[in-house]
């Protein structure tokens, strides 16, 4: 893994920073869409090193953060059912629903909850606990969905019956379109997510570049990757251009990963989806197709989403839209801390509030 160290190399980052300073001809505002970018920018100290002309705004790209309270309530309702076992990625464990309670609370009161690394692990759980229905919580964007689709396919091929997925899967372009239609949000460039783009391809941002005259640059997650992306963006903006560029060619192609796209399309279909802070956005989510409804938790368990209030005082919604920063929230750092999170932006390790709390 020798070459990886070179992407993290400080000696490489310093000249890139210099070039970035030189490239910023006019000030610009850039939204980093992806939660992993947000964390990398904070952790590496880039935020404080960037030239003054660049303003970074965190976007809605942390999957746990944009999961609505109504979805968390439905998850808690499923966890309370007999002979049901919830399997999930760890980040969601402590996100409170509208009652203020989370899966962590449910688990301490006897609900069966397993944190897994891969959705495939839930098929192992299904074999291990034949009397339980394993409910895998499908939370994530385009990067995560293909693996979950492949898991449903594997369940079908292996005749595993006691496994379902609760799909809150979301797709990235629709909320970006919704945000960019908002005249209050002024941005000049979009730092496009790395591994979402591995799946959907850099070409997916062309409509955004065309319609909103945005400089869209796909970037990797290492500091040097992010700096390279920002240099390309600064040059475009300096020249008054707005197009899609790919600064992460070792992982992203223009057309994306067609095998993964096909797998998703086989199992899922576009559906309206509620986003925390953004409301319901048409066709911004994915629902399980009729042919695979046997693996659909909503159908098998007859789950209905009921509108739910977000925690009182929590500003996650405005923060996810890039309109506010965490320090403007009355709860931030007082009642809401990583040890006792009230909103999802503080719970997730990729949430903007968690990042501000830890690094600012």
């Amino acid at each position: 893994m020798k070459y990886l160290d070179e992407f993290r190399d400080q000696a490489l980052a310093e000249p890139l920073l210099k070039e970035l300073r030189r490239s910023v001809i006019k000030p610009f505002r850039v939204m980093e869409v992806c939660g992993t970018h947000t964390m990398s920018i904070f952790r590496s100290g880039l935020r404080t090193l960037l030239p003054e002309g660049i303003t970074l705004i965190s976007g809605p790209g942390c999957p746990v953060c944009v999961t609505s309270a109504a979805h968390i309530d439905a998850i808690l309702a499923m966890a309370a059912l007999p002979n049901t076992r919830i399997a999930l990625f760890g980040d969601l464990f402590r996100v409170p629903g509208s009652s203020g309670l989370s899966l962590a609370n449910a688990s301490s009161q006897g609900a069966k909850v397993d944190i897994v690394y891969s959705p495939m692990d839930s098929l192992e759980l299904a074999r291990k606990y034949p009397d339980d229905l394993i409910v895998f919580l499908g939370v994530g964007f385009e990067t995560t969905t293909p693996g979950i689709a492949a898991t449903i396919m594997a369940a079908k091929n292996n005749s595993i019956d006691n496994f379902v997925v609760f799909s809150t899967h979301k797709t990235m372009p629709p909320p970006l379109l919704a945000l960019l239609d908002d005249p209050e949000l002024q941005i000049d460039g979009l730092l496009c997510p790395g591994h979402v783009s591995t799946i959907i391809g850099a070409g997916a941002y062309q409509p955004l570049a065309d319609k909103y005259k945005l400089a869209c640059v796909v970037g990797g997650f290492e500091p040097a990757d992010i700096l390279q992306a920002l240099i390309l963006m600064a040059r475009q903006i300096g020249k008054g251009e707005a197009r899609v560029e790919n600064a992460y060619t070792r992982a992203v192609r223009w057309e994306g990963n067609s095998r993964a796209q096909q797998m998703v399309d086989t199992i899922f279909k576009p559906a309206d989806m509620e986003w925390r802070g953004l409301g319901v956005i048409p066709e911004s989510g994915l629902a399980i197709r009729e042919e695979y409804s046997h693996y659909d938790a909503e159908k098998r368990l007859n789950i209905k989403l009921t509108p739910a209030e977000e925690p009182k005082g929590c500003r996650c919604g405005e923060i996810l839209k890039g309109k506010e920063v965490p320090s403007q929230c009355p709860l931030f750092g007082k009642r809401c801390t990583p040890g006792n999170p009230i909103g999802p932006c503080m719970v997730s390790s990729e949430g903007t509030c968690a990042a501000f709390y830890k690094y600012m």
Partner: protein, 91 residues
């Protein structure tokens, strides 16, 4: 959520054309071998390639040259910057 570190393929199991054959690659992660699924990878890997992995599934195969090309580009960028600096100093 996203793990940026690509991992080196040390073993491949299963048939690329047969979904039911258990398509798995064993990768080396800091000396620990780990299995990753190949169901949705964009290109079937060869031994020595690198995989970008997300939640147990490989999503992209890259050969070592692809990675090195990126490094070379960044080095060149750095060299240009140094050359430009030298020009500035002379001016």
């Amino acid at each position: 959520m996203c793990l940026a570190v690509p991992m080196k393929v040390i073993k491949i199991q299963g048939d690329p054309d047969d979904f039911l054959s258990g398509q798995i690659a064993v990768v080396d992660a800091d000396g620990i071998s780990k299995e990753t699924r190949l169901d949705i990878v964009d290109r079937w890997p060869e031994l020595g390639d690198y995989l970008i992995i997300h939640a147990g599934f490989a999503i992209h195969t890259l050969d070592p040259q692809e990675a090195e090309t990126n490094i070379r580009l960044m080095r060149e960028m750095a060299e240009k910057v140094e050359a430009a600096d030298a020009m500035e100093k002379r001016a």
